[in-house]
Symmetry: C2
Subunit: 402 residues, 2 copies
């Protein structure tokens, strides 16, 4: 099979490297050779060993009947979406790592794939090299999935691990992540949770068949987490992790969120540290399954891209059926989401706070007071908080407990 790779950045280059380096192995496993015919790239790359494959015009690729598959590694929504759609409409399979396109346009692209008898595959868009999407779509598909909790962003997990193990502030840990190349100069998409939000939207769509728009997902980042909060978490044997979560309750509610959580030492997610990702899935028969590995980087992402290529090359049936767009009731109002909560306050006594918050577990902190509440909903929490602020108290921190 001949393929074209769109983009020769970190991921595109890594995918071509994998297809080249493991070519004999791949041909033997897939039953046929997988050859890169074109690489679409605007930049001049004089030192690139694949310079002879580079083209600048997508029309060359989409109009070439020898190209059976397009591997999209451009990033960003446009023109990645338009090129993907055109490739599918031209009867070419599309494999991508582009979570922005999958989260925003996955429904349309899966429809186009089905209509044209080809596949749209995106294992690399979530969890880098970790094969969680294919497992959810197929191996675990006999289960009703009632919970997904994922550490889905390596940059924020590195920052939180530095804060936990070295006592750093958020600002210092971010600067360190930037110095190591783990965080971009503009880290907003990572530290404000948007990247994890796209990924939990995709995971949920694969598990349930319904794609929820990212705007409908309650999303918080980690920028407000204080070194004091990390120490307080540690005092109750928890680490703070940024989680993407899907929760279906027994009452039929479905909650989607991205937020930092206190993760107890007994959870398999507790030890997922540094730049690693981990996705904990709970199904009604399989119970807990954890997938763990490198969530980013050229080689792991290329591994997932090529896994999708192998699926197509070996004649595999469509992994994903077209998703439904979420209707108004697909996600329950986040105000009803109930959990235990870590609360840090100043300007109020522990006794006064206990009157308002009921039975609480006090934590020893240097400034102000802090405690864990019983399970209360978002709206209950903010009602109680309003009484605290009315009495002159001030919220320092509020982090949910897994």
């Amino acid at each position: 099979m001949q393929v074209a790779v769109l983009g020769c950045g970190v991921v595109g280059r890594g995918t071509v490297d994998l297809l080249t380096e493991n070519a004999a192995w791949i041909a033997a496993r897939a039953g046929e050779a997988v050859t890169v015919k074109y690489i679409l790239e605007r930049r001049e790359l004089p030192d690139c060993p694949y310079a002879d494959k580079i083209v600048r015009d997508f029309d060359v690729i989409v109009s070439d009947p020898e190209v059976g598959m397009v591997i999209e590694a451009m990033g960003g929504s446009h023109p990645a979406y338009e090129f993907s759609l055109r490739a599918l409409e031209a009867g070419k399979h599309v494999v991508t790592s582009n979570k922005e396109v999958v989260a925003n346009f996955g429904t349309a692209l899966l429809e186009a794939a089905e209509k044209n008898g080809v596949q749209y595959l995106f294992e690399a868009s979530v969890g880098g090299g970790i094969p969680v999407l294919h497992s959810l779509a197929e191996d675990l598909s006999g289960n009703v999935i009632d919970s997904i909790a994922g550490i889905l962003n390596g940059t924020t997990n590195f920052i939180l691990t530095e804060m936990f193990t070295k006592g750093k502030s958020f600002a210092d840990a971010l600067a360190d992540a930037q110095a190591r190349g783990y965080a971009e100069a503009n880290p907003a998409a990572d530290v404000e949770g948007l990247d994890a939000c796209r990924k939990i939207a995709i995971l949920t769509a694969v598990a349930t068949g319904v794609l929820v728009p990212t705007e409908a997902i309650h999303t918080e980042g980690i920028t407000a987490i204080r070194a004091e909060d990390v120490r307080a978490a540690e005092s109750v044997h928890c680490a703070i992790k940024l989680l993407g979560r899907m929760v279906r309750t027994e009452r039929g509610e479905t909650f989607l969120m991205v937020a930092p959580f206190f993760v107890p030492r007994t959870s398999p997610l507790y030890t997922v540290s540094d730049v690693f990702n981990g996705v904990l899935v709970h199904g009604n028969f399989v119970d807990d399954v954890l997938f763990f590995g490198r969530g980013a980087g050229a080689a792991p992402t290329a591994s997932a891209m090529v896994g999708d290529v192998m699926h197509v090359a070996s004649g595999g049936a469509p992994v994903h059926r077209p998703w439904k767009r979420a209707d108004a009731g697909a996600v329950t109002d986040f105000a009803h989401f109930a959990c235990r909560r870590y609360v840090a306050l100043e300007g109020v006594e522990q006794g006064a706070a206990a009157v308002i918050f009921g039975a609480v577990e006090p934590l020893a902190v240097e400034d102000g007071i802090a405690f864990l509440t019983d399970e209360i909903s978002e709206s209950e929490f903010f009602d109680k908080l309003a009484r605290i602020t009315a009495a002159g108290g001030k919220l320092l921190s509020h982090i949910r407990v897994l």
Copy 2:
């Protein structure tokens, strides 16, 4: 699609339960209903809610053209192998959890499946509900897999966890496992490593395409592990785990083994405790990936069985190509396997041992002496041990280090 289930024991019953309880969900996901037409069972099961489906004659199943798939949950080699072969030859897909049959007869059964245009699937035979085989066969298949290390047997992991967390002896921990129903009255297949041996043979066959006979795999159990060894491991931040391992070295050697190992706290396998299983796979692009979950039990095993059923029902291509039988050079002589080693001796001084074993890291133990060696091969180790015993020393324990 109509299916027949062979055996109504724990796994067979669990699989029928899943297909029944999640029937609407499964029909929606697979695009067609999956209905159990027959259950093959010799025993009288008057209280079984599926009594109307029970038949006693396999011929009824194999000769019924409405049965498109056979789910084998009998256990043991015979007649499970013969029934599986006859079903495949009759053009029926076969799904199984039977690791004994897969490890012993997988090559012949995959050939029969290919010849008859159907599939032989066995996700449930390794790691219970954990989807590691399908991931290895497809998602990670662009990688050359150079290492697999798996905690593949829940019974022994429970025993080792009890020894680690509660300081129990092997005998006490085994008795406790038996009392809880985790270990059978005759626990030999578990505690002597045979169960894990079958599973590493299957994992390796899926990753490499070559099935190595279990007799060619170096297999040790955990019966000789002493409470002192567990404490010594803990003193160097290790836990003792029974691992199935496949290792391909840069020199082109391939080693297969089942043995207890010192697993350092930095390994993702360290926290895989109690009855849980974990499989750590290393590929040349994806780096480390860990799969973690329940390795046994009715519901998780049923989840994996039904995942395979869904693969077939949704028109999936064959997951596994026929395996090659291992030739003489497929596995390197275990005498050449090199690693660090924990050694406990009596009747010899630490100084004398150091002369023979070279630079070693001494460990504090109550009786005799103990130390960690540098990386040495099996043959080197036994040569040195012969010199120790010639000098009146005696081996108390020898455990490899991961």
